[in-house]
Amino acid sequence: MSALSLSGITKSFGAMSVLKGIDMKIENGEFTVLVGPSGCGKSTLLNIIAGLEPPTAGTIEIGGRVVNDIAPKDRNIAMVFQTYALYPSMTVRQNITFGLECRNVPKGEREAAVTRVAALLQIEKLLDRKPSQLSGGQRQRVAMGRALVRDPLLFLFDEPLSNLDAKLRVEMRMEIKQLHQRIRSTNVYVTHDQIEAMTMATRIAVMHQGEIQQFADPDTVYNRPANLFVARFMGAPPMNTLPARIETAAGVVRAVIGQGDAAVALPLPATFAAQTGREVVLGLRPECIAEEDRRFGHGGERVTLELPVEMTEPTGAETIVLARLGGERALARVSPDVRLQPGDRGRFALDMRRVCLFDPGTGALIA
C-alpha cells in the first residue's frame, strides 16, 4: 500500500491548464522532492494533495484511502509553509498544540506531545514565547513541530527554506534530512532549488509546464536525465548540451561537434554504435571536462583536447571555465590550481563515460 498515490490529476484555471495529468506513487518512508521552475505547477500539486484546492480531474489516495472529498484536516497530513504560517497571537506551545486542541485531545496528552516534539527539535526553551520573538530558523523549527506533533501519515513541505538566509538554509536542510532518517516519515517536499532536491530526496520528481518530466532517484535524475529540460535544470552549472553528429569510422564511434575546421570528434563508448548517422544533442556534465592531468577513476573513454578559453569563474574550491568546443560554448570544472586566462588555449581532459545523447526534436534521452 502506497502512502500517496495520484492518478490522472489535472488542474485548470479557466483556459489555462496548470497540471496536465500527474501520476505518482510514493511509498512509506520516502522523501520525495517536487522540483521545477516557478509556475511549473508543483505548489498547486501540493495544495491538491493537502486538499486546499480541488483537482479538476483525477484521484488522490492517501494511505490507500481515496481522499478527494475529504477535508484537509481529515486527510491525516501535516504541512510546513514557506512563510511558516505561525499563529501570531499564540505562544509556541499553543501553536504546536492548536491542531490537537481542534481535535479535542485531552490536555494531558497535548502536554506530553509538546514535550516530545520540543525535545526532538530542541525548542524547549522557546515554548512560552510568541512567534514575533523568534528568529527565522526558530520559526521554521516551530512550524515543523506543529507538523510533527500530530504524527501524520504524510508530511507536506511547501518551499520551507526559501525565506531563510543561505547559511541557515544549509543547516536546516541537513536537519530536515537527519530528522527524516530518524523518524522515517513520508515527506513530499516542494522546492525550486535543485540542490535541495539533490541533497534531501530519496526520489525526485522534476516538473515542467504541468507535467512530470522525470520521477527517479537523485543519481538517475542527475546522470541519466530523461530529457533536455531535466538535463539543463538539474545541476549548477547545468549540463552542456551540444549539437552533434554520430559517426562510425574504422570501428570507432565518434560524436562530431561543429563544422569544418572547428569540428571536434569525440570518441564514444562502443554502445553508442546504434546511433550512427544520427543528429543528436550531446549532453556532458561540466565536471566531465577538467584539466588535462585529471584521472576520472578509470581507464577508458578519456580524451584530451586543446580548447580556447573565453572566460573563467573562480569559486575557490574549483574554477568554472567557459570554453569553445567545436565552436559551441561548453562549461568545464577545473582545479583552482590551473590558472587560465581568457584568450588562452588550455588542454582539457574529457570523461566520455557519462555522455548522454538526446533527440534534437523531442529532447528525449535516446542513449
Partner: protein
C-alpha cells in the same frame, strides 16, 4: 539647498494649519479663563468658568450621554462592521456593489442622516405609523420621544452611518491576512468559529484599535447628527458636550463658559488619543526590539 517650490509646499500648509488649529485652540483656552460673555474680554477669572460649567445639569447630562452614546455607538458600529466584513469576505457575488452600498452612508452628511432618521423614527409618520397602518395597531416604536430611550435613536442613526466605514477598514484587514495562515488552520482542523476567534481576528486587532479610536473621536465630537435628529431633546435628554458648547457660545452669549466646555471636550479627546499614541509607540518599540 532646498528649492523655493518645496519650501512653499511644506511651509504654506503648515503655517495655515498652525494658524487654524494651534492659534484658535490657544485662544479658546485663554478665553476659558476669562470673564468673557457676549464679547471676549481679558479679565482673568481662573477656573470659575469650569466650576460653573461642571455644575450645570446640562453638562452633567451631556457627559453621561457621551458615555452611553460613545459606548453604544462604538460597540455596535464595530460589531456591525465586523459582521458585514466577515460576510462580504466569503467571496460572495456582487461584492463590489454591496461594499459600495454599505459604505454609502459615510458619503451622506450627518445633517441629512439626522433629518431622515427623525422622520423614520417619528411615531406619527415613520416606522410606527407604517406598522400601525399595516394592521398591527398596538405597535409602539417611539424611542425618539422617550426621555430614557431617545439617546439610543442617536446610537442607531450613528451606527447606520458609520458601520460601512468600519466594515471597509476591517475588510481590508481580513483580506490582508496571510493565506498560508488560513491554510495552516484548515489543516490543523479549525472550524469556521475557531478560525475567526483564534486565528483571523487576533491578527486584526491593530486595525480594530485604529477603528476604535476613529469612532471614539467621531462620538466625542458628534454635533450635527443630534442637532438634526433630536435637537438635544426631548427636553435636554439627548444633550452631548458639543451641543452644550454651542448652547453656551451662541444661544446664551457666554463664550467664557462655552470655551471652558470646549476645553473639557478637548481633554476628553486627549484621554482617547494619548493612550492610543502611547500604545502605538510601545508597539513600534517592541517591533524594533524583536
Amino acid at each position: 539647498m532646498r528649492r523655493a517650490p518645496e519650501l512653499l509646499v511644506i511651509w504654506v500648509p503648515l503655517l495655515l494649519a498652525a494658524a487654524h488649529i494651534v492659534v484658535f485652540t490657544a485662544w479658546t483656552v485663554w478665553i476659558s479663563f476669562t470673564a468673557s460673555t457676549l464679547m471676549p474680554v481679558s479679565e482673568f477669572v481662573g477656573l470659575r468658568n469650569y466650576t460653573s460649567v461642571l455644575a450645570t445639569r446640562n453638562w452633567k447630562i451631556a457627559f453621561d450621554n457621551l458615555f452611553i452614546f460613545g459606548g453604544g455607538f462604538v460597540a455596535f458600529t464595530m460589531l456591525t462592521g465586523l459582521l458585514l466584513a466577515i460576510l462580504i469576505d466569503q467571496r460572495i457575488r456582487g461584492e463590489n456593489v454591496l461594499r459600495s452600498i454599505f459604505l454609502y452612508p459615510m458619503a451622506v452628511s450627518f445633517v441629512v442622516t439626522g433629518v431622515v432618521w427623525s422622520w423614520l423614527l417619528n411615531p406619527g409618520m415613520g416606522v410606527q405609523k407604517l406598522v400601525n397602518d399595516l394592521g398591527w395597531a398596538g405597535f409602539r416604536f417611539d424611542w425618539i420621544v422617550d426621555r430614557e430611550m431617545a439617546i439610543w435613536t442617536i446610537v442607531l442613526a450613528g451606527v447606520w452611518q458609520a458601520a460601512g466605514f468600519a466594515m471597509a477598514l476591517l475588510l481590508a484587514g481580513l483580506r490582508s491576512v496571510e493565506p498560508d495562515l488560513i491554510k495552516a488552520a484548515q489543516i490543523d482542523g479549525a472550524g469556521p468559529l475557531r478560525m475567526y476567534t483564534r486565528v483571523i481576528l487576533p491578527t486584526l486587532w491593530p486595525i480594530m484599535v485604529a477603528v476604535l479610536v476613529i469612532l471614539l473621536q467621531m462620538a466625542i465630537t458628534t454635533f450635527d447628527l443630534v442637532r438634526a435628529l433630536t435637537g438635544g431633546g426631548p427636553g435636554i435628554a439627548t444633550q452631548l458636550p458639543a451641543l452644550v458648547v454651542y448652547d453656551f457660545m451662541f444661544q446664551r452669549g457666554q463664550i467664557g463658559r462655552g470655551a471652558a466646555a470646549a476645553v473639557l471636550m478637548l481633554l476628553t479627546l486627549l484621554g482617547v488619543l494619548v493612550p492610543h499614541a502611547l500604545f502605538k509607540y510601545a508597539r513600534r518599540r517592541r517591533a524594533a526590539n524583536a
